[in-house]
């Protein structure tokens, strides 16, 4: 599939020639990609290939150096209102990064109140709805330290959902979780797609990737080498790098 040179304003996310440097080091190398509404993208690739850097560019936690990033038809650059951007693009981290000094409920209501200016009672109503969507409503009054890893990750997802984002970025959300918790997260991510939320997820779990991905994005040394549906990627990868990557993953 060959993409046109100009970004596609009808796509949820449209990326053309996106590059990023850390000093002299080329961390992202001319990435082209279109992601449509409600799509579930999984980013795979060896360690250090630029997966985290790539998804952090999507909510501009890391600004890119060249190329075009367009979200819902709007160009994202240094003139973009970051508060609005981060409201529509949520993020979930490997280590959850919940606020330890706040209860589960307060974790979910802090940003909506501060950033969106929503009243406390509205924010709490929304938070409780999303907390029950991720099956954790009964833990609302607890502190993060009192929860298991899987529970904390579900709180982190609820916290992102409370901002009503159209897109959620996941950076290895299951890396610190046991298999049972992982299947819980898989279920939640399917629900999100049904609600029309686009997800871009970095992972090292091949099983997880195969279960949830609509398309796999395979990266190596900052470049995107393949964008393919999972059945095809896992059975007949097109590039030699992807083949060796998969062979290594299976051996582990």
């Amino acid at each position: 599939m060959q993409l046109s040179t100009s970004p596609d304003p009808t796509a949820r996310i449209s990326i053309r020639g996106l590059s990023k440097f850390y000093k002299d080091y080329l961390a992202l190398d001319r990435i082209d990609l279109d992601i449509s509404k409600g799509e579930k993208i999984v980013v795979l690739g060896p360690s250090g290939s630029g997966k985290s850097t790539f998804i952090r560019c999507l909510n501009r936690i890391e600004p890119h150096d060249s190329g075009v990033l367009m979200i819902d038809g709007r160009i994202i650059d240094d003139r973009t209102n970051l508060t609005a951007l981060r409201g529509s693009v949520g993020m979930v981290f490997q280590n959850y990064n919940l606020f330890p000094h706040l209860s589960v409920l307060d974790n979910c209501t802090l940003a909506p109140q501060l950033v969106r200016g929503i009243t406390k009672s509205d924010a709490e109503a929304t938070a409780r709805r999303y907390l029950s969507q991720v099956n954790i409503a009964e833990q609302a009054e607890k502190f993060p330290i009192q929860l298991s890893g899987g529970q904390q990750q579900r709180v982190a997802i609820a916290r992102a959902l409370c901002m009503n984002p159209e897109i959620i970025l996941f950076d290895e959300p299951t890396a610190a979780l046991d298999p049972e918790s992982i299947s819980g997260i898989v279920g939640i991510m399917r629900d999100l797609a049904e609600q029309g939320i686009t997800t871009v997820c970095v992972t090292h779990e091949m099983g997880f990737a195969r279960h949830i991905a609509d398309r796999i994005v395979f990266m190596d040394r900052g470049a995107v080498l393949e964008v393919t549906p999972p059945e095809e990627f896992f059975t007949a990868p097109r590039t030699e790098r992807a083949r060796t990557f998969l062979a290594q993953m299976i051996r582990h």
Binding site: R86, F93, N97, H101, L102, L110, A111, I145, Q146
Partner: protein, 507 residues
Amino acid sequence: MLAATLLALAVALPAARALADDLPSFVHDGQLTLCTNPTLPPMTFVNGSDTNALAGMDIDLARRLAAYWHVTLIPQTMDFEGLFPSLSAQRCGMVISGVLRQAGRLRNYDAVAYLDSTVVAVARVGTPKIREMADLSGQTVAVQSGTSYAAQIERENDRLRAARRAPIILQQYPTEDQVVQQVLIGRVHAFISQDVELYYRQKQLGGKVTIILTPDYPDFHQFAVYIRKDSHDTALLQKAIDELSQEGEIAAMAKKWGISGDHQSVFTDQKAPSRFDFTTFFGALFSTAFLKGAELTLVIALLSHLTAIAISIPMAMKLNGRDSIIRRLLGLYVAVFRGAPTLLQLLFIWNALPQFFPIFREHWFTPFLATWLSLSINESAYQVEINRAALRAVDPGQVLAADALGMTTAQTYRHVIFPQALRIALPPTINEFISLLKTTSLASVISLQELLAVTQIQVARTFQFTEYYAAALVYYLAMVFFFLFLQKRIERRFIWADRNKASADAA
């Protein structure tokens, strides 16, 4: 109405006199300002438990001089070492504080003598008399620091060394009463002082000490009023003292304070005081002087620490940030104020700053403000390290999460970083505060009437040092324990950081 009229008169009158008469230049605005160290009875001391009630021969003389010039006397008390720096800094017009007229001091200041005196070497009762100072070879002798006895003993030592004999071992203490204590407790063989002081001490000491020698030092024969160098002022002051002397007023003051030439009359044995006088102890404990001293200690410590915290938070944020000129300057600030002794910083701000900026010698710049300023600056240099460590200890993932939620930098600090850093910073901050509470005692050198200054003044007056030290100790301990208790209470609020406690709390 009447009071207002009187006040207007009081202000107008000296101004009118200033035009008519010739006033010394150190008398102005209807005021004569005096620097004195009230720990040397009967010359200058605090009579009674009110620390503002100055008394003694020197105070009477200063009052009489003020009356002579028809102005108000404004006395300022401070450590002996602070007297001459304060005179130079124009913080006061004259020093009358049992200071001897000496050639060395006359190089920088003018002096007018008002009372004759002699030097005495004093030891415990029963110590044999000696013939000359050289007989103290190899013995330990105590003097008040800042006085010229130390230089005199050095000269004796030069002669002793030339004669290949052991020198006199010298110990110096900040107040005269501590000097006397050393003889009483037997740590030193003798102390050097003036006869007039000893007349007074004898009543307190109940004949426990005796004069072992009256060395004839020409430099130690007269007490003098010191002023800044000005021949016209000196002539006017000399004229005033001469007139008071001729009318017998100075002799009357000396008599009033028991400064008579009759040595033996005061050296009569009295009954020995009891070991620990609980009446004195409880009296001190509940006296307004101690309460006020403790209050001042607490207020200055709290105020200084709060100021230090307020300035050290932005400093810590800057120091944790990227390299810049400001960051380097802050690094220098921290190094300088942590490196220099706190006492030196206090003395610098009080005595040296007015030399550079005259506005700091004006009356608004009180010892309280000077202490607040220097302790805040000093403490901020320590507090900044606590803040830096606490801010660094907050997981960078927290900032990332707040960023990803669209929070501004200010919101992130206010709602995410500070609450977490506070938990880490609290125990060392309370430690710092407790240490600062004790550091405030240094401010007695710049005449702040905090707890230790009050204690020392009371000790100088009564000589019951054990009782007054004990009362001060009770106050310090009570304050420290209160803050330790407060720390425990606050720490209980941080249950979110401890899984076990959090679960126990929920159960």
